[in-house]
Amino acid sequence: MILKRHAGVFWAGFAVVIALLLLAPLVLPEFWRRFLTEILIWGLLAMSSDILIGYTGMVSFGHSAFFGLGMYGAAAALLTVKPPNLWLAIVYGLAGSAAVALFVAYFSTRLRDIYFAITTLIFSQIFYVVIFTWTDVTGGENGLAFSRPRFGIPGLWTTPFTSTSLHWFVLAVVAGSYLVLRRITHSPFGMVLQSIRENEARTRAVGYPVERYKIVAVMLSGLFAGLAGVLYALQNRFAAPDFVYFVVSGEVVIFNVMGGIGTLVGPIVGAGFFLGLREGLSRLFPYLATTLHLPNLAEFPYLVPLGVVFIAMVIFMPQGLLGFAKRWLNR
């Protein structure tokens, strides 16, 4: 009975949030519309890494590789196939990130804890160097630019994306991914992942092939990260090596911790909080400089206070915003 009511509350909340996100682009100006779409995309990336961080207990510092390969996969499809095809871009992007994820998963899942984190970090850096230096294929430092494909079923009916319809498309993909991931984490498979997090030795002793579960978990996570990469490529119409750099992976972990790991929604909240704060701070200092007549302040690096906020959150709010809110509501 209680469980049923709980589910009702969940679906009601889900419907409200989706409805708000559906309506948002209709009222928001162009800049904020794009900003909201971007938060959703980064949120999807962060959510994909939550499968590893929050559910399996493996901290990946290499999600930029999956994200980037999704991006470059989409770029490959959009640049080589005429006319550019949306669905083919997704397929290429997913294939790219899946191949990378298989490679990374095979080697890195033999390791635990910090060793896993560092290995994934180094792997993503290998892909970064390859993409950065293989100028003939990847465009090197400049990356690749392409045009956005049309939405629809090729040959039957197509329509160009507007920023609003792209937002809806991204929202649909992110919401769908969330439901799929939620189903997976509640499935027997997800339960095994959580038992690996809680006690790996015992899970192995009970008879589960832990390594195989870990490989599948990394691949699953990599696929959804690649999907986020495809969406980002569609949104910004370019693929650049900067997004494969390990700093992006670090930001993904920051989103997770800020929002609350092991919740799936938390990472999206974290992404929104981080990006919103960054945007706010980047406007705050020029504003303060003009109102307080301190011209030096205009150039102040807004990432410094952002980093300080983040360190403070790591120390004082380790459960993240969502965990903190939950505790506060239960009090």
Binding site: I114, Y115, Q125, V129, T133, I254, P301, V304, I315
Partner: protein, 290 residues
């Protein structure tokens, strides 16, 4: 194909020089990991700040050696401060949180340096400009001096750990934190001291390496990645192993860059890392665990 012996010898010298610098960076990193279980993502930024402090004090005093000493001391103090403020509250928590805290520190330091010193690379003048002829190259003596100085510092560290009072405390804390505390060793201060030492060593290598490349705010990133590879290949928390691994990896990269561009040479060391993890996950340069 004829083997270009002269190039190989030049690259061997180059590899050993960078290897010694890398060893200096990595031994600080591995010391911090061994004693505190902290993977210090901000280590490259401490290296970078050291180089900038060197630039600033060199401009003020005109003396390279004074700049080296003061940069080391300032960054060591900064490291102690950072440890007390951010890492001490995280003691006993999951290592993930210390990684994230140091990642945050690196974000802050890097952006602060960009604001303070600007995006244009600064130059540190080498303390003397003598050269000797190595085949067709005029090879600067300064590079050899770097290798010697790094070796001296690492040797000093080793002796300090072996015979110094604080060094014995450090080794005791590495072996058993709780027991060390029970024996009256001030473990929290040992942690702070180790972090300060690691920071100071990173800063010293930053100043020493400064004359070879320009000093800019992102110079730490490459080094921290390389130092991570070295620390894992050498065996986490193992000082001698990470020194051996530094030289090994740097030599490999130096030889690789005969045939590929230097930026691609890091792939070679990554492959070494992968092979190490596959066949000897405890590290290449440690005795086989029983």
């Amino acid at each position: 194909m004829q083997i270009p012996w002269d190039i190989i010898i030049i690259q061997t010298v180059n590899g050993i020089v960078t290897g010694m610098i890398l060893a200096l960076v990595a031994s600080g990193l591995t010391l911090i990991f061994g004693i505190m279980d902290v993977v210090n993502f901000a280590h490259g930024e401490l290296f970078m700040l050291g180089a900038y402090m060197g630039v600033v004090t060199l401009a003020a005093t005109g003396n390279f050696w004074l700049a080296l000493l003061s940069a080391t001391a300032i960054v060591a103090l900064l490291g102690a401060l950072l440890q007390v403020v951010t890492l001490r509250p995280l003691l006993g928590r999951d290592p993930l949180y210390t990684i994230l805290a140091t990642f945050g520190i690196s974000l802050v330091l890097q952006n602060y340096a960009l604001w303070q010193f600007g995006p244009v690379a600064r130059k540190i003048q080498e303390p003397f400009s003598g050269q000797f002829t190595l085949f067709y190259l005029q090879y600067p003596w300064y590079r050899l001096l770097i290798a010697l100085l790094s070796a001296a510092m690492i040797g000093g560290l080793y002796l300090f750990l072996k015979y110094g009072r604080f060094g014995v405390w450090i080794r005791a804390t590495t072996q058993d934190r709780v027991m060390a505390q029970a024996m009256g060793i001030p473990v929290p201060w040992v942690h702070t001291g180790v972090f300060a030492m690691g920071a100071g060593m990173a800063a010293a290598s930053g100043v020493l390496f400064g004359p070879l490349v320009g000093v800019n705010h992102t110079m730490g990133l490459d080094w921290v990645l390389k130092a991570f590879i070295v620390v894992v290949v050498g065996g986490m928390g193992n000082l001698v192993g990470s020194i051996a691994a530094s030289i090994f990896i740097s030599l490999l990269e130096a030889y690789a860059s005969i045939w590929v561009s230097p930026s691609q040479a890091i792939i070679v060391s990554s492959i070494v890392l992968i092979l190490t993890l596959l066949f000897r996950p405890t590290g290449l340069f440690v005795p086989t665990p029983k």
